[in-house]
């Protein structure tokens, strides 16, 4: 069965490759033919002093050159980024499976000892975060108290946050929405965060239509449309989404955690036809 599937996959990959090379070669041949025609017209026009032929020659050379530069386009359809990322996810997935971690991830916003924030994967459902034990260099959190034990992973999507920071765009969403803040002010700031996340997703060409809703004051339901869900499918299949979200969801949750300055527990991440729903719970660190 496995051999059969393997050979089928091999065949489909081979046929795809052949199709691709035929299309690319066809484009290249046409481009070169157009350039040759152009050069022919150019030299004929130059030798016989016919301006229209010279013009046509120059134009054809330019068009040929443009077609030639388009002919490499197909190669970029293979997303190298998601390929590399999927290898990394395999490693993390294996680690989580081997440690038998069944809890979902807790996103910690950047703070003094965690400059880029972190994703904490507790070993127990009834967990506690001891910030004295956590810093950027720690991977396994070891403690006498079982509830404090877990993994500290660097959040995916932090590079997107860094990119925004580099261009000075990130500070725009920083808000200190305290529980005692005026409701109008809070909703206004949430609108700002929503607009900003929408802008960022569009900027990185990752998704759009983000919507953030608060329910019961400590549950956030966030939804958005993702452009490319190939990574989502893989993560959903392995049940890794809510444990260690992909760079896109990771970026959104990390930005939200930072802008609210709250620790967020990922309750659920659902993907259906490129529509993502993220359910988060705000954790009050002072009650922990």
């Amino acid at each position: 069965m496995i051999n059969n599937n393997g050979s089928n996959n091999e065949r489909s990959v081979k046929s795809k490759k052949t199709k691709l090379s035929i299309t690319t070669n066809f484009k290249k041949i046409i481009a070169i033919a157009v350039i040759i025609f152009g050069l022919g017209f150019l030299s004929y026009g130059y030798l016989n002093n016919i301006v229209h032929f010279i013009n046509l020659g120059i134009g054809l050379v330019l068009i040929g050159w443009i077609i030639l530069s388009f002919s490499y386009e197909k190669y970029l359809k293979y997303d190298i980024g998601s390929g590399i990322f999927s290898d990394y996810i395999d490693l993390i997935g294996k680690l989580i499976k081997n440690l038998d971690i069944k809890t979902s991830g807790v996103v910690i916003p950047p703070r003094e000892n965690l400059k880029n924030g972190a994703v904490f994967l507790p070993l127990n459902e009834d967990f506690k975060i001891n910030f004295g034990l956590i810093n950027d260099t720690i991977f396994f959190v070891n403690s006498d108290n079982k509830n404090e034990m877990g993994l500290i992973l660097s959040p995916l999507g932090k590079s997107l946050v860094k990119t925004l920071k580099k261009y000075g765009d990130y500070e725009a969403i920083y808000c200190n929405c305290t529980e005692h803040a005026d409701n109008n002010l809070k909703s206004e700031k949430l609108d700002n965060i929503k607009d900003y996340l929408n802008y960022s997703l569009n900027l990185f060409q990752l998704g759009n239509n983000i919507d953030i809703n608060f329910s019961n004051n400590d549950v956030i339901i966030l939804s958005y449309e993702i452009y490319d869900n190939t990574v989502c499918k893989k993560l959903q299949k392995e049940g890794l989404c809510k444990k260690y979200p992909c760079p896109v969801c990771g970026f959104i949750v990390l930005s939200l955690a930072k802008s609210l300055d709250r620790i967020l527990k990922i309750e659920e991440i659902i993907e259906e036809n490129k529509h993502i729903i993220i359910k988060l719970r705000i954790i009050n660190e002072y009650n922990m």
Binding site: V51, H52, L56, I58, G59, L62, I66, F70, Y72, E73
Partner: protein
């Protein structure tokens, strides 16, 4: 594809009606720049890089033509 169709139509049009190769080059560069500016966001990064090279070569040719014209005027 739309970019190519519009460009081909434009080139055909100006190559028929323009009687001077230098003027044709200038008009071609202007048309190319306008179209490229309109369509550049739909192109992949690699295509954009290639078209950027083309654009710089076009601008260089344009500068040469301008300098030639200036020297012609000064020599008169």
């Amino acid at each position: 594809m739309i970019f190519l169709i519009v460009l081909v139509a434009y080139i055909t049009f100006i190559s028929i009606f323009v009687n001077d190769a230098k003027l044709f080059l200038v008009l071609l560069l202007i048309g190319f720049l306008i179209l490229y500016e309109l369509f550049r966001y739909y192109f992949k990064k690699r295509t954009q890089d290639n078209l950027d090279t083309m654009m710089y070569i076009g601008i260089t040719i344009f500068i040469i033509i301008v300098f030639q014209k200036i020297s012609e005027i000064l020599n008169h």
